[in-house]
């Protein structure tokens, strides 16, 4: 049941004001899309809002004390790199995508050294302009920056235990709500990933005969959702078809599970995103008809360099 405010084609006698109020069952998604298309808001703005909310929650709710210098470095450096690289290439400067990367780094990266923060931020945004294949970047920028930091830089680590179950609930509700409202197709990847990962984690617990509290704890890490909604959902490093997205998300879930529970690697989420990015780049290499391989894509800036 949906309440629709509608401009009638002709005034009705029962509504002297000239408006009709109708209650209709919306069986057609076309109508719904038409309705929501009036609010043509970039989904990245939703992501920025959600990430800011999580950051606020981590400070006020979880008592995290961010280092102001590091925070500023992670917020400013990506914008500087984005601006410089855009100017160099000759594309308009867009803040939104760099802001998502910035906020993801603020939430996930732990460091106490200013230059490490600057280098990670530079690598993150720089990878979008340098590590490219057929008109778009290969790796999710944040995952790329985090991966390099974990491998190569001192004083950089991730703290998956930092996020309690409250973060999971908050993020899930916010992002789930946004998905319902906006129907952003990129979130399909997130939800397929979450469903696949849940199947694996709860399936393992069922096989081990563990109490339900254990898989719940393993699954409801806030970090899982941050990866799901803000990295795996990156439209430029994920397939464009539903089937492709499903395969991509399931590959991510499977590799995360394998790295975490079979190889006992730390930060399996980062490595699995990077692995899935490589897998997708390879598939594009094979499939020369890929839409994203078109360098004359008029929306290249808005999509490929965002």
């Amino acid at each position: 049941m949906k309440l629709v405010l509608d401009q009638p084609s002709e005034p009705r006698a029962t509504m002297p004001s000239g408006f009709a109020i109708e209650n209709r069952l919306q069986s057609s998604t076309a109508n719904s899309k038409e309705f929501w298309s009036r609010f043509s808001i970039d989904p990245r703005l939703f992501q920025i809002t959600a990430l800011s909310g999580i950051l606020l929650f981590s400070v006020l709710g979880l008592g995290r004390e961010p280092n102001i210098q590091i925070l500023c470095a992670l917020l400013i450096a990506p914008q500087v790199v984005q601006w410089s690289a855009s100017k160099f290439i000759g594309f308009p400067y867009d803040t939104r995508s760099a802001m998502i990367s910035s906020l993801s780094l603020v939430l996930l990266l732990r460091t106490t050294t200013l230059w490490v923060a600057v280098v990670v931020a530079t690598l993150t945004i720089g990878s979008k302009f340098i590590v490219r294949f057929r008109g778009t970047h290969i790796f999710n920028p944040t995952a790329f920056g985090l991966g390099l930091a974990l491998l190569c830089l001192p004083d950089a680590w991730l703290s998956p235990g930092l996020w309690g179950q409250a973060t999971f609930a908050l993020t899930f509700i916010v992002m789930g709500g946004l998905w319902v409202v906006h129907r952003a197709s990129s979130f399909q990847t997130s939800f397929i990933f979450l469903a696949s990962y849940a199947l694996l984690v709860f399936g393992r617990a069922f096989w081990l005969d563990d109490p339900i509290a254990i898989p719940l704890k393993q699954y409801t890490h806030g970090a899982v959702l941050i990866f799901a909604f803000f990295m795996i959902s990156d439209p430029r490093t994920t397939p464009q078809t539903l089937l492709g997205r499903a395969c991509f998300a399931m590959l991510c879930a499977l590799s995360t599970y394998w790295m975490t529970f079979e190889l006992y690697w730390q930060n399996g989420l980062v490595w699995s995103v990077l692995l899935a990015n490589i897998g997708f780049a390879l598939s594009r290499c094979i499939n020369t008809q890929s839409q994203m391989s078109n360098p004359r894509d008029p929306d290249l800036h808005a999509q490929g360099l965002r």
Binding site: L62, A156, W157, W207, L208, A213, K217, Q218, W265
Partner: protein, 501 residues
């Protein structure tokens, strides 16, 4: 049943630990107690030394019952050979406990009437001091095999008889343990089954009374196990099965790179750096216990608390002498630690390097900590210590400046009382009544501040500016320790042979 009557007392998973010398002691595993044996699980102490995939686990043993009743079962991720088991030294665990313990730091206010000069003393108050079979016959092996339990090896190490078990089914292992006279708590079968499916082995230790008599010790020494496996974890699930209420666990980790934290539970810093009333110096143990209990209560028993994280090359202030290379080796530090000459990086002479210690403290039960503790070593080398500041007021100053000093002191003392009440949940009025308040001893000048600022009509308005007395901190000098001779580990020997044969 006869078998039940001769039940041994086991603890599953691990470690007896002293919390303080007064309040002992418990075990992060569960006791499989004799029916009439009253044992309690309250606190445990574990040292984890880790580099790469190599781990040395040391379990402090504060067991205080009959030695013949002692036994423990520890799940380990991989198969263990004789050389990978070692009996350690309680003193080394006491040393790391004392070294990393939360501490009091004292400062003394100077006489406000004297001209400014450096006059400072600091004393550290280390607070935590803790007080602290037979072989299976071949017929039993056959019996075990029929139950799907394989006794992979049996050893006598020090005063312990060790058996390494693997099993195919939890039911078989459960039955085997019961047949062997162990009283296994309800619910253990399910947990054992989970560990078996994760391909974990079981390490059973019992006291060999003859060997113990030869040694002549009245206590049991800590058991150490060295293994190589990517899993960096501590099994605590079994330990919650027969626990009465919550338990405390202290985990001391020594790593090369940096701080250790839990990956499946939040790791949060314990409150530190607050100024508290001086009388707490005589009540530090209750203070620390209540402060920790209050922190756990506020946190909802969701987190692991970080109490100390420091490069072992130095400390400031030191609650105890830093550990030297020999002591670190006793705790299982298998990599080469060099001794500093004290000239580089401000390190103290004779102190081992290339080692970073983290002290984690958690209070847990099955409801709040359903999963085993999973750890990661981070690159974080930022130092942290739980420290609480005592500032001794100067009493007896009589000059004009003293009025300002005591007025400010009244405010400061109130703040310290509130800090203490906030940290511990103690009654604020009781705290106030126990602490020094300038208003009790002297009549403070009640002149309004504007009169002090501008003066009365009949007085000169030029007054000396108000200044709070300054104090400065100097670390307590630590006497140099004799430099031990480093013993290189031969490349051709297995890494766990650092203990020697």
């Amino acid at each position: 049943m006869k078998q039940i009557q001769k039940s041994h007392c086991i603890y599953l998973v691990s470690i007896l630990v002293g919390f303080t010398s007064a309040t002992l002691s418990a075990f992060c595993g569960f006791y499989v107690a004799k029916a009439d044996t009253d044992l309690f699980n309250n606190a445990s102490k574990v040292v984890l030394v880790r580099d790469g995939d190599k781990t040395v686990l040391t379990m402090a043993n504060d067991y205080e019952g009959e030695a013949k009743d002692f036994a423990m079962v520890i799940p380990v991720p991989t198969k263990i050979e004789r050389g990978q088991i070692h009996v350690g030294n309680n003193a080394a665990i006491d040393r790391i406990d004392a070294f990393t313990a939360p501490r009091l730091v004292e400062y003394f206010d100077r006489d406000p009437c004297e001209p400014p000069m450096m006059m400072e003393a600091m004393a550290d108050g280390a607070m935590m001091r803790r007080g602290a079979a037979k072989s299976i016959a071949s017929s039993k092996k056959q019996s075990a095999k029929s139950l799907g339990v394989t006794i992979e090896a049996e050893y006598t190490v020090g005063e312990y008889d060790i058996a390494i078990l693997s099993a195919k089914q939890s039911g078989g292992l459960f039955t085997y343990l019961n047949q062997e006279g162990y009283k296994v708590p309800a619910g253990a079968e399910r947990v054992l089954g989970s560990y078996i499916k994760q391909k974990m082995r079981f390490f059973i230790a019992k006291v060999n009374l003859k060997e113990k008599a030869k040694l002549g010790n009245s206590y049991l020494r800590p058991l150490q196990v060295a293994y190589e496996h990517p899993r960096f974890m501590l099994p605590i699930r079994l330990g919650t099965l027969n626990a009465k209420g919550s338990q405390d666990l202290f985990v001391f980790t020594i790593t090369k790179q940096g701080r250790v934290e839990t990956t499946n539970y939040p790791t949060v810093k314990i409150a530190s750096g607050d100024e508290i009333p001086v009388y707490v110096k005589d009540e530090f143990k209750p203070f620390y216990k209540d402060m920790f209990s209050t922190a756990v209560k506020r946190d909802g028993m969701k987190s692991v608390f970080l109490e100390y994280a420091w490069d072992l090359g130095w400390c400031d202030p030191c609650a105890a002498d830093p550990l030297n290379a020999k002591e670190l080796k006793e705790l299982g530090v298998f990599w080469q630690t060099s001794a500093s000459n004290g000239r580089r990086l401000g390190r103290m002479p004779g102190v081992a390097q290339s080692a970073y210690v983290t002290r984690l403290h958690l209070r847990y039960d099955a409801e709040h900590f359903p999963e085993d503790l999973m750890f990661q070593e981070t690159k974080n080398r930022q130092n942290f210590q739980g420290r609480y500041v005592l500032r001794h007021p100067f009493k007896g100053a009589t000059c004009e400046l003293a009025e300002n000093y005591y007025r400010n002191l009244e405010t400061s003392q109130e703040k310290r009382a509130q800090n203490l009440a906030n940290l511990t949940g103690w009654d604020i009025n009781t705290i106030r009544s126990k602490m020094y308040r300038p208003s009790k001893d002297r009549k403070l000048d009640a002149t309004p501040f504007w009169n002090r600022l501008w003066g009365d009509d009949d007085k000169d308005s030029g007054r000396v500016p108000v200044q709070r007395p300054q104090t400065q901190v100097a670390p307590k000098p630590v006497p140099p320790r004799p430099e031990p001779e480093p013993r290189p580990i031969k490349a051709e020997r297995p890494w766990w042979k650092f203990w020697g044969s």
